[in-house]
């Protein structure tokens, strides 16, 4: 039985040993030592390589035992067959947590890999050491300067990630960063022969730096512990989960109805029902949901007010809403009377719901903001979606300045509205205009207002947040 550990020693180490640092500086620049240096890790780095006295300007040692100072954390990047020996050295040195980056263990499916994994398991059973991995990218913590990719933002935030895949996070983290999301800690845990997803979720539940959690899991070793950890955490901090490999067939003999019917998909459906965790189906959707969970204020019901342009856009948006479980109710007579005062009576204007206030060649104007306010204040509405399509008006003289001003009006409106609001800035077909539209999205997101590039992405994310808040209220 391995001891309980304060995982902060891994997330915030004062010193790191990199076992297997390359003696070729050019190579190691792109390796763990180079990465830590480039990302600004403030603690001490000890490269471990018997063949080099100095690596990237740092004194190197032949083994961790040769290092005179204490070491908190080790990253092991050597051939798997050497890992057991290195682990014994780490235990002797008193290192508390080791990240085994190396692959070549049980994930290979081969006898040799499985035996190595068994050997590691037996070594850690004896000693007082915890393992992250093997076969994983480890930790990204912008606050302390740990990372597995230097493209990730240096700014920290309050979204935590527990992921079975590192490659998927290489994709997702920069994408989320570009959408104005900042992370507290991201952990890629690989084979999880020791520290598992469940334990990381338990950590995040208690971590004051983390308010929202995203998990990517395929298989969970200790399913019940994971189930309980998610169920518990989700009561106070939203947990978004992408379960990979859902459509694999279920296992089981067919000696009973129950066994033959219990496939993976149905059991995971129970998992999500019982824990109330938010389910997403793709990495793309995960990013949208992370944007929503971090930036969309609490929604108290499922009724949406849509402010868009032109009949078709509104009609289709209404259908998408209804299919996603959101209602598009009529506004009250009073609201409609007020809206009529500010809506120009030209073609394309309508004040039902969806509301078309006529964006026009002046960009998002003061009366647009008033319109949004009227819709938000309507008692029949719980959340507002404002859709703008600047590229439609660029021929009428709208350019970067007007688009930026529109973004500012939307930000100022969203921040003082009585209900939560999301903005959709759709993208046109001219590369320059698209650039301006993306800049507008970025400005809105960085101001803490949720923004999306399509109506569908916005509606799906909103509907899942509405469902989540319903669950929270039912507790």
């Amino acid at each position: 039985m391995v001891q309980e550990l304060d995982l902060n020693v891994a997330f915030d180490p004062q010193s790191i040993a990199v076992v297997g640092a390359s003696s070729d500086d050019n190579a190691e620049k792109k390796g763990w030592v180079g990465r830590l240096q480039e990302f600004g890790f403030k603690g001490k780095i000890y490269p471990i390589n018997p063949k080099a006295p100095v690596i990237l300007g740092l004194k190197a040692y032949p083994s961790v035992k040769a290092v005179p100072d204490p070491i908190d954390y080790a990253i092991v990047s050597i051939r798997s067959s050497f890992v057991p020996g290195v682990l014994r050295d780490c235990i002797a040195k008193g290192i508390k947590v080791v990240h085994i980056f190396s692959a070549g263990f049980a994930e290979t499916g081969m006898e040799e890999g499985k035996k190595l994994q068994e050997e590691v398991i037996s070594i850690i059973k004896e000693g007082k050491i915890r393992i992250i991995g093997p076969n994983c990218m480890g930790i990204y913590n912008p606050k302390t300067g740990l990372t597995f990719n230097t493209r990730f933002s240096r700014e920290s935030g309050n979204v935590g990630i527990v992921s079975q895949t590192g490659a998927g996070m290489m994709e997702l983290v920069p994408h989320a960063n570009a959408r104005g999301v900042r992370f507290s800690k991201v952990i890629s845990y690989g084979n999880a022969l020791d520290i598992s997803a469940a334990e990381f979720v338990e950590y995040f539940a208690k971590d004051p730096e983390t308010k929202y959690i995203f998990c990517y899991v395929e298989g969970v070793n200790d399913g019940i512990r994971f189930f309980k950890a998610v169920r518990n955490c989700n009561k106070t901090k939203p947990v978004i989960i992408l379960k990979g490999g859902l459509t694999e067939g279920g296992s089981g003999a067919v000696s009973s109805h129950t066994a033959s019917l219990a496939g993976s998909e149905l059991v995971w459906k129970a998992f999500f029902n019982q824990t109330g965790a938010i389910q997403v189906d793709t990495l793309t959707e995960a990013v949208e949901q992370i944007v929503a969970v971090e930036k969309l204020r609490e929604i108290k019901g499922r009724r949406i007010g849509i402010v868009a342009r032109g009949g078709g856009v509104g009609v289709v948006a209404t259908d998408t809403c209804e299919r996603a479980g959101l209602k598009v109710p009529a506004l009250t007579k009073e609201t409609r009377a007020e809206l009529a005062k500010i809506t120009p009576a030209d073609a394309g204007s309508s004040i039902r719901n969806p509301v078309e206030i006529g964006l026009g060649r002046f960009g998002v104007s003061e009366y647009y903001a008033t319109g949004l306010r009227l819709v938000a204040d309507d008692p029949n509405i719980d959340v507002v979606m404002a859709v703008i399509n600047p590229h439609v008006y660029t021929q009428e003289g709208i350019g970067a300045k007007e688009i930026d001003q529109s973004a500012q009006v939307l930000i100022d409106t969203a921040k003082t509205l009585s209900k939560p609001m999301v903005v959709v800035v759709t993208l046109g077909d001219d590369i320059d205009v698209i650039g301006m539209e993306l800049a507008a999205q970025e400005k809105i997101l960085n101001a803490g207002v949720p923004a999306f590039a399509t109506v569908e992405a916005a509606i799906l994310a909103i509907s899942k947040m509405a469902k989540y808040w319903e669950f929270r209220r039912s507790l």
């Binding site: 399913g223 019940i224 189930f227 000696s255 109805h257 019917l261 059991v267 459906k269 129970a270 019982q274």
Partner: protein
């Protein structure tokens, strides 16, 4: 821990079998707090007839053997027996059929029970999920499960709301609420059964699977009409 349940499990293990008979399974579920039809084992025709008279007609007879899992296919089930003659005849037919189809089977005898009043047919089961351990299943019986696969699952240990959600989440839920003149079913009782079965599954790790099929649910209460338990 319940001594009766432990004893039944121990007996099966000592006889090198993993399958508990209907009689044993019903005893187990009775100990677990559910209502089961009073079912007794008759080893000969005379006992079968005597038990039938005591219980009252109509009667159901079913073959009892750890080696015969699918009783209906083995012609081992006779329903709606209205008097002593029919019971006697049915007993002979069941035993003859069993000996013919399963000459090497260990036959304990014939289970005698009174036909339960008709109710809404429910199926409740448990299986071990590779990730989560004991998982419960709930559904409406017959074609709802077999053709529509309209079932819901619950990972144990179930919270109180999980039991309610499992029942509410099946598509056929309106039938439990009363539909076109059928009575409103005692859903609260079914919820309490699911919670009891969650405790039960957690308490007996020797159990690999169980099926309560059918359960008849009524406006008040419910009755386990047939049950199966498989040990690891």
């Amino acid at each position: 821990m319940n001594n009766v349940i432990n004893q039944i499990i121990a007996t099966a293990k000592s006889e090198n079998r993993n399958f508990l008979t209907e009689i044993e399974a019903k005893q187990v579920f009775k100990e677990a707090g559910l209502q089961v039809t009073d079912t007794r084992l008759a080893v000969n025709k005379k006992d079968a007839v005597a038990m039938s008279s005591a219980m009252g007609y109509p009667i159901v007879l079913k073959i009892v053997s750890p080696d015969i899992l699918h009783k209906t296919e083995a012609n081992g089930v006779k329903l709606n027996l209205k008097n002593a003659d029919e019971v006697g005849k049915a007993f002979d037919e069941i035993m003859a059929s069993a000996k013919e189809k399963f000459p090497n089977a260990n036959i304990h005898g014939v289970a005698v029970q009174k036909m339960a009043a008709p109710g809404l047919e429910i199926i409740i089961g448990m299986t071990l999920d590779a990730q989560f351990g004991p998982v419960l299943m709930f559904g409406l019986g017959g074609i709802f499960v077999e053709v529509m696969k309209d079932v819901s699952f619950g990972i144990t240990p179930l919270a109180k709301r999980d039991a309610a959600d499992m029942i509410r989440n099946i598509k056929g839920y309106p039938l439990l609420n009363g539909f076109r003149g059928t009575p409103k079913i005692d859903v609260a009782n079914l919820e309490s059964w699911l919670l009891k079965l969650s405790d039960f599954a957690q308490s007996y790790p020797e159990i690999k699977e169980f099926d309560l099929n059918p359960v008849f649910a009524y406006a008040q209460g419910a009755m386990v009409v047939d049950a199966r338990i498989i040990l690891k």
